[in-house]
């Protein structure tokens, strides 16, 4: 009976995570449409990849592990989902990093409206200062 309770808990937690992922994807999509510039839209996109893909994949993994109806193959599904989630967690930030860096350095995307841009200030202070002194 205890194993059954554990399975049920896994399935409930998994379902919650999958639903949470769907909600996050919706929020991310709204952000993609409504946010004013490239960098905040990129933030919305990463909400979609981490909360909207990593979290539900973990949910799928837990659900599969708790769903006895799948038989022995549930461990394949759980493992596959877990590995995919891990890779996504590792690689999605790298992708958004590359995008943001390229957009900033090529000045393809203007930071507007801008509250604060520490990188710009840093570049001005350090590089600009050096140039002035030279």
């Amino acid at each position: 009976m205890e194993a059954n309770a554990l399975d049920q808990a896994l399935m409930v937690v998994g379902t919650v995570m999958i639903v949470w992922g769907a909600v996050s994807d919706l929020i991310g999509a709204l952000g993609m449409l409504r946010f004013p510039n490239f960098f905040v839209r990129l933030h919305a996109a990463t909400v979609g990849t981490i909360w909207g893909a990593f979290v539900p994949l973990i949910g799928v993994s837990l659900f599969a592990a708790g769903y006895e109806g799948l038989g022995f193959y549930r461990w394949f599904m759980a493992g596959g989902a877990l590995v995919t989630a891990f890779l996504l967690l590792l690689l999605a930030p790298v992708g958004s990093h590359a995008l943001a860096r390229a957009a900033y350095r090529s000045r393809a995307a203007e930071v507007k409206p801008k509250v604060v841009d520490f990188l710009e200030e840093f570049v001005k202070k350090v590089m600009g200062g050096e140039n002035d002194r030279a």
């Binding site: 890779l87 690689l91 990093h97 590359a98 860096r101």
Partner: protein, 276 residues
């Protein structure tokens, strides 16, 4: 502006409704003759069935069995089409090469940031591993040589973009020539595999066909369905293996050609104009 948006929304909805109507009412046309369905059943019945020794392919993956055995000649010509497309790309880009001028180049300065490079270093072995499994298990699970080769070509493509073309050509030594050689070796392997049973038959002195895999009613010879206890389905494993190399090398070759800087290409084109 507003009207345009309404028109966009309307046309999307109209497309969805029309597609639904079309698919519901005979959108797929008349259904084929029910007698055709027996063909599918026959493939499923014979694909891995030692009880019908002259019909079976000894592969549980019916798609690969159809692609490389039941209609294998068709696939051979598809491979030829891809091969000729690569030859066409090579002919257009002739003379444009990166094969020299790698000395004194600070290769590590090219490419994207350290974070991206590190992640790519982690990812590339994974891509190669997964694509090799897609190709080498092509006769057991969905996949095959072409699919595995295309997946494998993603690894050099990533390196091209993230580490730069110079890194691929001068550091990894994946030059155009080596890719052409690898591709040619893969194609030679495919030829050898398609002639394997025929040559075996000629040596032993029995009837055999080109592209034959398992024994047939009037040609009792065939390649072994299993090797060392694991299923290889005769020619299917070798076709997938060689196609994997041919396709991966072919795509990598095209990616390298496409990533050569425009300046280099212009040099060659200008040279031609001036009669050099």
């Amino acid at each position: 502006m507003r009207l345009g948006r309404y028109l966009q929304a309307f046309s999307l909805v109209a497309l969805a409704v029309l597609l639904a109507v079309a698919l519901t009412y005979k959108g797929l046309g008349d259904l084929p003759n029910p007698a055709v369905r027996d063909l599918a059943l026959w493939y499923l019945y014979t694909t891995l069935n030692p009880e019908v020794p002259n019909m079976t392919v000894m592969s549980p993956e019916a798609v690969t069995a159809i692609v490389w055995d039941y209609r294998g000649l068709d696939t051979l010509f598809e491979t030829m089409v891809f091969f000729l497309a690569i030859v066409g790309a090579l002919a257009i880009m002739r003379g444009i090469t990166l094969n020299e001028g790698g000395e004194g180049l600070h290769i590590e300065r090219y490419g994207l940031s350290l974070i991206t490079k590190t992640a790519t270093k982690l990812l590339v072995p994974l891509i190669i591993g997964v694509s090799a499994s897609i190709a080498l298990h092509g006769h057991l699970t969905p996949g095959g040589g072409f699919q595995g080769g295309s997946a494998a070509a993603v690894a050099p493509l990533l390196v091209l973009v993230i580490f730069s073309t110079y890194y691929v050509v001068f550091k990894l030594r994946l030059s155009e020539l080596s890719m052409i050689s690898l591709r040619t070796l893969g194609l030679m392997g495919i030829y050898m595999t398609s002639f394997a049973t025929l040559i075996l038959g000629l040596v032993i002195g029995v009837n055999a066909y080109i592209f034959q895999n398992m024994p047939k009613a009037n040609a009792f010879i065939g390649l072994p369905p299993a090797l060392g206890g694991s299923l290889i389905s005769g020619t299917l494993f070798f076709f997938n293996l060689f196609e994997f190399f041919a396709v991966a090398a072919g795509f990598t070759l095209v990616f390298i050609l496409l990533s050569i800087p425009e300046v280099k290409a212009r040099e060659v084109l200008k040279g031609e104009e001036h009669g050099h």
